[in-house]
């Protein structure tokens, strides 16, 4: 893995990519996100961590509205999110997402997985979509598998294709929801490598992950969540060496005791 160049501080007056303001979200009566505010600058890499059930997934799924929030504002790329379907689709096309379980389309070949979103949603011609898809598959080192079906590939391979598929939409922001936690340990590195490359290219990223090595290496900021709240956020050096909140300290201790990949 190549390291992202130091210093990794993002230009202080880079435009804001995502602004979350006083966000509240309930599942029925369960208060899943409590007054969460977060600002992400263009080019910034954010790692979100926290114990299970703390609302990490819920938070990043609100950014592309896979979950609807009840209170607060989310502004993505200058667009305030509302429930207007067309505007929402527009935003989703500019925000890529990778899931824990890849969610590739099993009835389509790898190549088709990557071209269909382009032709169907961006109106790109088949030949151009194909060329771009192959370029991205090359980048995630999956080009030789372009004609296989997802079911024929390992988890790590599928996740790399899922990343390529998301990138095919030419997104400006990428969301990752525990992209490596469903993978066997030996496949985690290959996926992280792709993510590190992506970070090095300056992609704006919000990653929910427990890969603390990844956080140290690429994150501009680590956000710690617990019980639906952002408890603490800090650059990785500071976050790992001098965590402020006792909850953060406890979480970090647990993670260290259970190995780096523990979820």
């Amino acid at each position: 893995m190549n390291t992202v160049n130091e210093p990794r501080s993002v230009d202080a007056d880079a435009p804001v990519a995502v602004r979350i303001d006083a966000l509240n979200k309930w599942y029925g009566h369960f208060h899943a996100l409590k007054n969460v505010s977060l600002e992400v600058k263009t080019g910034e890499r954010i790692v979100i961590c926290g114990p299970s059930g703390s609302g990490k997934s819920t938070l990043i799924r609100c950014v592309n509205q896979l979950e609807q929030h009840q209170e607060g504002d989310i502004v993505v790329l200058g667009q305030l999110l509302d429930d207007h379907p067309k505007r929402l689709r527009q935003i989703r096309r500019e925000v890529g997402m990778c899931f824990q379980h890849f969610n590739l389309f099993p009835h389509l070949s790898v190549l088709k997985n990557c071209t269909l979103p382009q032709t169907a949603n961006l109106g790109i011609a088949e030949s151009e979509a194909m060329a771009y898809a192959l370029k991205l598959l090359e980048r995630v080192k999956m080009r030789e598998h372009a004609n296989k079906y997802p079911g024929q590939l390992s988890g790590g391979q599928q996740q790399r294709i899922a990343i390529a598929r998301a990138l095919c939409m030419r997104p400006k922001i990428m969301l990752f929801d525990e992209p490596t936690s469903a993978l066997d340990p030996e496949m985690i590195a290959e996926v992280l490598e792709v993510m590190v490359d992506l970070a090095a290219e300056g992609m704006t990223m919000l990653c929910v992950t427990h890969e603390m090595g990844f956080a140290r290496k690429v994150a501009d900021r680590v956000v710690f969540m617990d019980q639906g709240e952002i408890v603490e956020q800090a650059p990785p050096e500071q976050f790992f060496s001098q965590p402020e909140s006792p909850r953060t300290q406890q979480f970090l201790n647990q993670i260290i005791n259970h190995g780096v990949t523990a979820g």
Partner: protein, 354 residues
């Protein structure tokens, strides 16, 4: 088995016989009894069906072999197959049969692009209707000339192919977030499923006329077709709904996250997977529909059963009900059994590909 045998392990076939047929005393007795019954009955049945049966002749008087008298079927086979279709136009019926039968190999070969198959299946009912009913260059054939296997295949195939898209829409509607659409679909599905087809057929043949202005009539074939489509669609909707429910949530989410609209998500991501998984039960429903078409005889449409009934009551063939109905049973059995084996085969393949 025998002590003289050199090899310790008996031949696999012998082991199978031992394990499956003679594992214990009771099983052995049952096996022997069944064997005896078969030995006694099969020759008799075959003799009646084939060896002593009469296949050639011109009237009942020619049946002297003591076996079955197949003459009413053999001599009227054109009537059974083509009904009263004009003699010079029967090639249209043959072509329609071939086009309908072609679906099976099309579904079988996975090399063929599914979109072509789907397109073919969407066009087929219209092409069949045009071929058989006429118009646009083909001489028109009145519905009263439709009878026999022609009607059965016509109603079965066209009914199925119209019912499928309607069933899909109903299934989607039933899962819709819009309460009005959902309610409408639920009402429709539940209503149709709780009424026997035969009632619907009577309604179509008698009641529809009440609501139409005087002088306006809808073709009787069209009316029974609509009933069969409505009926089958409601059942298919439930099968497809099951398939939709079985779809992983992640597929919808991935599609959403990539900016797919609802209809695109359904048409290129969800439904192709659901349909692939539901082909076996849908095929089973087709078998059901195929058999259900025989009910149209109660509203005066002469399908293959109608022709059989008219044959048995024709003075020259009176008293030959056994042969005629046996032929009918074999006709349905051959088609339905083949289809059901095919459905089973597809199911096995699907299991393997998981």
């Amino acid at each position: 088995m025998s002590s003289l045998s050199a090899s310790r392990r008996p031949h696999p076939a012998l082991r199978w016989v031992h394990k499956q047929l003679f594992p214990n005393l009771l099983q052995s007795i049952l096996t022997l009894a069944t064997l005896g019954l078969l030995l006694w009955s099969v020759p008799k049945v075959l003799d009646w069906l084939i060896f002593s049966a009469t296949f050639v002749g011109s009237s009942k008087a020619d049946c002297v072999g003591g076996g079955a008298c197949w003459l009413p079927v053999v001599n009227r086979i054109d009537l059974f197959v083509y009904g009263f279709y004009p003699d010079t136009e029967t090639w249209r019926v043959n072509l329609a049969f071939v086009l309908a039968g072609a679906i099976i190999p099309l579904l079988y070969f996975k090399r063929i692009d599914r979109r072509w198959v789907l397109g073919y299946m969407m066009l087929l009912p219209f092409v069949m209707w045009w071929l058989l009913k006429g118009g646009l260059g083909l001489s028109s054939v009145s519905s009263t000339q439709f009878a026999g296997i022609l009607v059965t295949v016509f109603l079965g195939v066209i009914g199925m192919l119209f019912a499928l898209p309607m069933g899909i829409l109903l299934a989607l509607g039933r899962r819709s977030k819009k309460p009005a659409i959902k309610l409408l679909c639920v009402l429709y599905i539940e209503l149709v499923r709780s009424v026997p087809v035969i009632t619907l057929l009577f309604m179509a043949s008698l009641m529809v006329q009440l609501f139409l202005p005087e002088g306006v009539t809808i073709d009787i074939l069209a009316r029974v077709l609509i009933v069969l489509v409505m009926f089958t669609a409601a059942y298919m909707a439930e099968t497809i709904r099951g398939g939709l429910q079985g779809m992983a949530k992640g597929q919808y989410e991935a599609a959403k996250a990539l900016g797919f609209s609802y209809w695109k998500t359904m048409s290129v991501i969800i439904l192709p997977q659901v349909l692939r998984n539901t082909i076996p039960p849908l095929l089973t429903q087709f078998i059901g529909l195929f058999k259900e078409t025989t009910l149209v005889v109660v509203v005066g449409v002469l399908d293959v059963v109608g022709i059989a009934m008219s044959t048995t009551s024709a003075p020259e063939w009176i008293g030959l009900e056994h042969e005629v109905y046996l032929f009918l049973a074999m006709f349905f059995f051959v088609i339905c059994f083949a289809l059901s084996r095919y459905a089973r085969h597809l199911e096995k393949q699907l299991e393997k590909s998981r």
